[in-house]
Symmetry: C2
DNA sequence: GGCAATATCTAAAACGATTTAGTTTTACCA
DNA sequence: TGGTAAAACTAAATCGTTTTAGATATTGCC
């Protein structure tokens, strides 16, 4: 039924599920394309009732102006460009990712647009926008969850994408991931080998894939080695470690037997170090602290911290290549990589 | 002469200095537009000699394809979107700037595109590209130099822009700046009030506007108070402090009378702290360390460091509004703001 | 009732590129 | 020399939008 209707209505060769344009609305309302355009732009020479009908139809079909069309006609891009140097000595995950993606795009015809989404915002929104308006050829995402709805959505629409982090469907899509399970397992084992028996884990939220991987690895090792491992969870993401310092202090006071802390990020480690020293513990003596960092940073500041590095730059490079590969070679197998952690240093 | 030539040649209403299109090249070579297109795209049914002539003409007029045209026709955007969460607890200048610009753009029709440039790259390149291809309505830049050629170029082309940091022409363009002169003057005065007499300055490169402002403020205060102030310069930018630690250590060894360090960034301060402790000095006792940070960070890790904050988020917000104002109100006065530092905390 | 003014809509052109379908020229072969 | 095929180009259509000019009712006024 839907099929015959669609076939009947179809005038242009445009397929059924195509993006609605002004023409779609014009056909729907029986008006001319310019009328629709002017109605939507609230021009003075369009009747009130007409405007309402047009707007209703636009809403109904989910019309979004084609930016290329507007731009070509008006010359207006609706884009503000933030031009900035990439050669900071950046210690931050986010900035490093941006920079490495941009670097990987340098000798390709592709441009990068960064679309941050905010805590009060549905993570689906930017992705849906991109697919619906066709404003990019591919999407790169990080901080995936196991059942990430964005991944499901993109796969469903067979839209090219690559993720930093795996999901439930990782076998079927392009991704780069650091083996956090292995990182945590190795770290706990190593701490146990050093004689530590009561380990505090300062880990990212457990709805994130990598948070779950870390926990799994740490707990597996704890079980194998017969050590105790408790977990504190940082507020929002990998870098949100600063705000957790009071919680760590409280924990150390309540559990004076604690002799090691395993931290998932630079800030978490700084919080842990400050907390440990705050309750009078000495690094390397009463307590060992292990940190995973995006960039060697803590080492220079504080001897005695055990560090492992996750090279975010490499992740950005891979994930960019993988995304372009999805665009240009959509039927081939998706590029995938699971990075093994290096040894503690 | 040029005038009459241009008038004679002019077929379409396009003005003289307009961007060249395929039509321009077609007119120049006497060929049809599709021929030009196919020649540039290296299609098999175009003669070798024709291709060469077309390419020469394209090069000569500086042809760049109009992305909106390509996108409209082919559906290809040549854009890869990096979608990422903005709610990191970011400690970094760069990421904070990106996030605040994006946030300020949220309820406007504008999108943000981030264009990083690399150390091996002419800083003019991205700006020139944007102006020549018309790929944005406005530009935001940071890390200005006093004679910033990008600013000169944009003003010359009356292209809307706003800067984070002043230039020689600051009176005539939109900017936001932190009063680094005042920051440095106040900090040195305050250290002098605390009885410090030999101050080491760890400052950004002196070709940057804000590096110069800082030096001016610090030296003025040093003169007024009769204290000694020496300067070490960090490698590349505000965050490039880590690599300078050895230099600071050397300095402290060579100048054991040093009783204060004034740092322009978080990493510079971490390097200074590590260096000072490395040579056996105690914070707040033999030495005072003052840092300017983009985000309160060091405080949580290390008591005894004196901090001032430059709110980069506010800068991003202002500079974004200022850029949009340039687009929408090009004849009005440019928005300008000089932020006063808060007191040491 | 007729004429001008107004309100509301439509037709056509344009932005800059690519694609499809011709068209012209040259070369070759019988 | 006539016919055919290949080579090298051009004409026209198209993508989605906005703008300018023009058309058709409708209304107001005398």
């Amino acid at each position: 039924m839907a099929d015959s209707d669609a076939t009947k209505d179809r005038v242009t060769p445009a397929a059924v599920g195509e993006r609605p344009t002004l023409k779609t609305i014009a056909r729907l309302t029986g008006m001319a394309v310019p009328t629709v355009s002017r109605a939507l732009n609230d021009a003075p020479d369009i009747g009130r009732e007409t405007k309402e009908r047009v707007r209703a139809a636009a809403r109904q079909v989910g019309y979004r102006p084609n930016r290329a069309g507007v731009r070509l006609r008006t010359g207006k891009t609706n884009v503000v460009s933030l031009v900035m140097s990439a050669d900071h000595d950046i210690m931050n995950h986010t900035a490093r990712l941006i920079t490495s993606v941009a670097a990987s795009l340098r000798n390709t015809p592709y441009h990068m647009i960064v679309t941050p989404y905010f805590f009060d915002q549905d993570p689906m929104e930017p992705v849906r926008y991109i697919v619906e308006t066709g404003s990019a050829d591919a999407v790169i995402m990080n901080q995936t969850t196991p059942e990430d709805p964005r991944v499901a959505y993109l796969m469903e629409h067979s839209f090219p994408f690559a993720t930093h982090g795996r999901t439930r469907w990782a076998d079927d899509h392009a991704y780069y991931d650091f083996n956090n399970e292995s990182f945590a397992h190795y770290s706990v084992s190593e701490l146990s080998r050093r004689g530590r028996r009561n380990i505090l884990l300062v880990f990212p939220p457990q709805n994130q894939s990598y948070g779950q991987h870390m926990s799994a690895g740490a707990l597996r090792a704890a079980q194998e080695k017969g050590v105790v491992a408790d977990r504190l969870t940082t507020a929002v993401s990998d870098d949100a470690g600063a705000s957790i310092q009071p919680a760590i202090t409280d924990y150390l006071r309540a559990h004076p037997e604690t002799d090691a802390i395993l931290c998932a990020s630079t800030t978490a480690c700084m919080a842990a170090t400050a907390a440990a020293e705050g309750v009078g513990l000495t690094l390397g003596e009463e307590i060992d602290i292990v940190a995973k960092e995006a960039i060697p940073f803590l080492k220079q500041f504080r001897a005695g911290i055990l560090c492992m590095y996750e090279d975010v730059g490499r992740a950005g490079t891979f994930v960019t290549r993988a995304a372009i590969d999805r665009i240009e070679n959509p039927d081939g197998p998706p590029m995938q990589h699971l990075e093994q952690p290096t040894k503690l240093g």
